[in-house]
Symmetry: C2
């Protein structure tokens, strides 16, 4: 699967920033892939990109119409179908990270066929995977792992990629979720893979490479999350990481979505992940800690990172407010 | 999903016992569900059940025609289609644990519709699952876990169920693989569930129950298997077991299918599983050890079990050669 760029990011009538997470992710990290955003009456948020309608975007060469909004359940509301059909008529592929499949809407499927354009349901892996082999692959790999879900593993991974590029390192960001796939233009939505192939799909995501090449693999879930630890473990084993970066969000009272579940400490998270990772790479080590400090002041954030850095004898940064340069410097 | 009994077990022209694992499992553990076996020219193995052809079995009331053979890849060979069509014509549902779906063969789908019979692809879960919640359920649960795949977790689970029934305990065997599903008549093939729903599907398998009721949950894979540990962890977290039984096969040089991977010790297996299980049930404990001693003499097997029992201060049995009575006695 390859998503053609440039993208027109469709954010509909969204009224909060969380609802346009997909669009924001790609606008933040790959503005060069985006030609603009398209919103309709009632929308109160923006990615900051230029506002264009479908015809304008097509004239400027837009190749993909990206559904940049999300909702719990991943439902594709029928009210968006006219916009999707218009984008197809204007020569664009359609990209969706929703659970509902574009191809399950007969009028969309028929139109895409008629105008010879693709429907890309990036949450639904199309590849045929094999079960994991555990066989060591060449090249180097870093996986971001978290104390919880949604603590900033994708942003940390992209920040690490940016720092590595700046340092002249041969590096690829490997996407494992729909937003990351949009950013990378390719990848595997690992939580949508049949369980039997979890490790195998994860292995296929970072194939053999040259010895000094780094894959920065986007982590998923958390080994301490009662709902998603299985996904995290399969990804960890298949990734065979040489290095882990521990991701943490200061502002978390309980595990995401589970009020009765405690967030583990950074120390526990390091221990759990190192022990599990050794099964497929005995030489794994922790390269650093990435903290989302957005809930406190910049100054307070810096103090917290400095304290954690001393406590664990590891580089510790907020990879969005600062950069991941210090983690990369210590790693290579 | 519910599989109607009695079954006619179709073993084709199989020539080794491993190839008819599905048929043997149900013949060994639920002979009362089986009306007989049906083999064709060239078959050199048997389940030990009475040999019947399709018409004879139908006359005696067979409700389901079970494909009792397996192969790597789970391919449904077209040479079996005439037998499947004949069974449909004789009023039976068709049950398959293969990867290939019965419903993907147009002539089979058409015939099943015409005669109003079901095609049950028991490896492909049909239920809609939700993601895990981690919320504690009432009743008691035991999960069998293994040092490796295919060490006897299903046979151990069934042996435990048998011992509990004998002791007058209210108990259900909960199947998580296609052979177990055939035996229980229901269940979820957990390694065929979409990864995101691993824990949620596992939770749904052993719902709230009365306080003194036990669910004996069939384990899958091993936390130490590089390909399948994610499945094992999701099942472990979703099962919320009060008790674990550690399953081990004496005759194992390396992890199944992976010559470079070492089999973990029983000690490591206990440690790994207890640590992980505590996330969703802090009161979890190990109830015993089940060893497949079939590679040594009965006497030697007994000596090994006695030694392990002493080493770990736990009941240790071969649940097929002996029974699981001592584990159940110590547990309740």
């Amino acid at each position: 699967m390859h998503i053609a760029s440039p993208y027109l990011l469709f954010i509909g009538d969204a009224t909060d920033q969380f609802a346009i997470k997909m669009a924001r992710g790609v606008a933040d990290w790959r503005p060069e892939l985006c030609i603009g955003e398209y919103s309709i009456d009632g929308c109160t948020v923006t990615t900051g990109l230029e506002k264009l309608d479908i015809r304008q975007a097509a004239t400027r060469g837009a190749k993909s119409f990206v559904l940049g909004f999300a909702n719990s359940g991943g439902v594709l509301d029928k009210k968006w179908l006219p916009y999707i059909l218009e984008a197809l008529d204007n020569g664009m592929d359609i990209v969706s990270g929703l659970h509902d499949k574009l191809s399950d809407f007969p009028e969309v499927a028929a139109k895409a066929k008629a105008v010879n354009r693709q429907l890309l349901d990036i949450r639904h892996p199309k590849a045929e995977f094999i079960t994991g082999t555990g066989v060591k692959r060449s090249g180097k790999r870093l996986l971001t792992v978290g104390t919880d879900c949604s603590v900033g593993k994708m942003y940390t991974s992209l920040s690490l990629e940016k720092s590595m590029k700046k340092a002249g390192i041969d590096v690829d960001f490997r996407a494992t979720g729909q937003c990351g796939i949009l950013i990378a233009g390719t990848g595997v939505a690992i939580d949508c893979v049949i369980s039997d192939f979890l490790s195998g799909a994860s292995e296929s995501l970072s194939p053999d490479n040259s010895e000094d090449h780094w894959d920065i693999i986007e982590g998923q879930g958390s080994l301490s999350h009662p709902a998603f630890a299985g996904v995290s473990l399969g990804l960890l084993h298949g990734s065979q990481p040489d290095a882990l970066v521990i991701c943490h969000d200061l502002n978390r009272d309980h595990m995401r979505g589970l009020p009765q579940s405690q967030v583990p400490s950074i120390e526990e998270t390091i221990k759990l992940n190192l022990e599990a990772a050794k099964l497929t790479n005995p030489n794994v080590r922790v390269a650093g800690i990435a903290v989302n400090t957005s809930s406190v002041s910049v100054e307070e954030g810096k103090t917290i990172c400095a304290r954690l850095s001393e406590q664990f004898s590891l580089p510790c940064v907020d990879p969005v407010r600062d950069s991941a340069d210090s983690i990369v410097a210590a790693l290579v």
